[in-house]
Symmetry: C2
Subunit: 338 residues, 2 copies
């Protein structure tokens, strides 16, 4: 009854041509008479016709749907990444499905299966879980994946990451230059390559001096682990004079707990994070951190993925390590406000 959305067949009939011709016009294909093209275009406009990407996907095998796998979209690092991914994707006519895996391998499997069935063309994997093999075996074709924010173990797959080791070393060097020697590192999970690399950088920088006293606290990249680490150090009776957190979220947790315990930052304890989230740039927080240039990470991931999806030439995985930048702010230097 309702006119519903017109199909290509409706357009063809109305314009008095064949569906093949309409299809050609749509695809800007050659070999279409100028008069015919005009007539078809007009009919399309008149009818308000919109091609069904669904049908197109079925026949072409490409849905123009991308998936972004994150840990937890609430972690401030991810919305920024998601925004840049979405921006770059839609610039190319792609939409992005965002999936929070909660670092559960089972969830990665479920989501990937669902998305694959729904025709996802490719996935950007920015979560840090132990789900690399599950994802790769489910996807099959390595051209359809790009890892970011994490370096995959498997060879032959593309990734774009930050120079985590160098960034952390640089950051630690900044604290050492300020005279700190007893520095605590709030770590991430051992299975997260980015967290491990940052730990390595910290270790390396600390080892360059003979009188340093590194301390280590376990963590899981959450604010909560930052809180716990600080609490433990305070209770130990002999806390560090500075803290390097594996990411901005744990640094935020550390700051909170310090404030609750009336310790001034940076006077009583200096704090630094890693990520460069916009949130921590606010003067209210003013966290010294390592800027990963998150939007660039997202943009490159999409560019690489689309190139792999559309490239006809043989596949060579792209591996990029982007330079990060030390961002010195109030939590390591300057007037204490706490």
């Amino acid at each position: 009854m309702s006119p519903d959305t017109p199909t290509i067949a409706d357009v063809a009939r109305t314009a008095g041509v064949s569906v093949a011709t309409v299809s050609r016009v749509l695809r800007a294909g050659p070999d279409v008479g100028v008069g015919t093209r005009a007539r078809v275009l007009e009919t399309i406009r008149d009818l308000g016709y919109r091609p069904s990407a669904l049908a197109r996907a079925l026949v072409s095998g490409r849905s123009r749907l991308l998936t972004l796998l994150v840990d937890d979209i609430v972690n401030p690092f991810y919305p920024q990444l998601a925004k840049s991914v979405e921006y770059e994707a839609k610039k190319n006519g792609y939409s992005v499905v965002i999936c929070s895996t909660g670092n559960s391998t089972a969830e990665t499997r479920r989501s990937t299966e669902r998305l694959l069935a729904q025709g996802t063309d490719g996935v950007i994997h920015a979560s840090v879980g132990r789900d690399e093999h599950v994802l790769l075996s489910l996807i099959g074709d390595p051209r359809r994946v790009v890892f970011t924010n994490r370096r995959p173990v498997s060879p032959g797959v593309s990734y774009v990451v930050s120079d985590n080791r160098a960034g952390a070393a640089h950051l630690t060097g900044h604290l050492l230059a300020l005279g700190h020697r007893r520095i605590g590192f709030i770590a991430g999970p051992k299975f997260a390559s980015n967290a491990v690399e940052r730990l390595d950088g910290f270790r390396e920088a600390m080892a360059a001096f003979t009188d340093t006293e590194p301390l280590y606290a376990p963590g899981d990249l959450s604010a909560e682990s930052g809180r716990r680490a600080v609490l433990d150090w305070i209770r130990s009776g002999c806390p560090p004079t500075a803290i390097v957190a594996v990411n901005d979220a744990s640094a935020l947790g550390a700051l909170e707990t310090l404030a609750l315990n009336h310790l001034r930052v940076p006077d009583d304890m200096a704090v630094a994070g890693f990520d460069g989230t916009s949130l921590c740039a606010s003067s209210h927080i003013s966290l010294t951190t390592v800027d990963q240039h998150i939007p660039r990470l997202g943009r490159r991931s999409v560019q690489i993925l689309l190139q792999q999806l559309n490239g006809s030439h043989e596949f060579h995985p792209t591996n990029e390590v982007l330079l990060s930048a030390l961002l010195v702010r109030g939590t390591t230097i300057g007037n204490s406000r706490n």
Copy 2:
């Protein structure tokens, strides 16, 4: 050459049955011999067959893809909403495409057109732009839309929002009870219904006392507008003693600027927000705010949308106004830390 992913036809051939039978087994349809079913199931497992949701979508007209339209995923309100939407959606086998419109009507149009073509079943509109009619006319069927975080002007469409007016009035009452009389309100755009309702609640509460002095600053729901408002009030030489911000993000901006100007919160100036983002719960910020129970908002939106999509009965739009709760924290009461 490559075995590619097997189709239903492959399964049928291998199992020695017709595709219809395989389809029945998949759909858990009745009327399938128990032996046949077992054989088909086994073949499916052997071949590693996965039904193509794409093909299914083409024939059934449903893609199991939902769209969440937000303003800007980086605004801390949205990731929390997105998380709950995604959770509830995947529980029902749906995936969620997230689109940041940046409050641009043109962007809403572009994204909606793309997503519609890609077969989105329905959209949850949580952005606050002036794009209501564009969205509705593009979608056509009101059953495929739910507004949240904003109340649509058009009748006949579902929405789930918070009791913004009452929440803001309650919050303002809290400040009045503390003795504040000169209170500033950092507003949102006039086209955003939630912002306007909060303003109304503020006005109403202030009007209940004769000696109150309301002040108003324009804003756009961003942290930046919070910064500017505070700066203007400070410069005016006669700032309010308390501030009610239209949302948590602007409250955050206000806090920043107060800190930069060495004003203590809440002693020199009390500050309150609206949203109940988890970020502001941190003891480092401890923002008094109105809790919208964001996850509930997301969950209900999805439930209502899915019900509308799958319901066979005639359509009656669902309009829900959820109760919010006052969350009194450090920025209006207690020891100042700034």
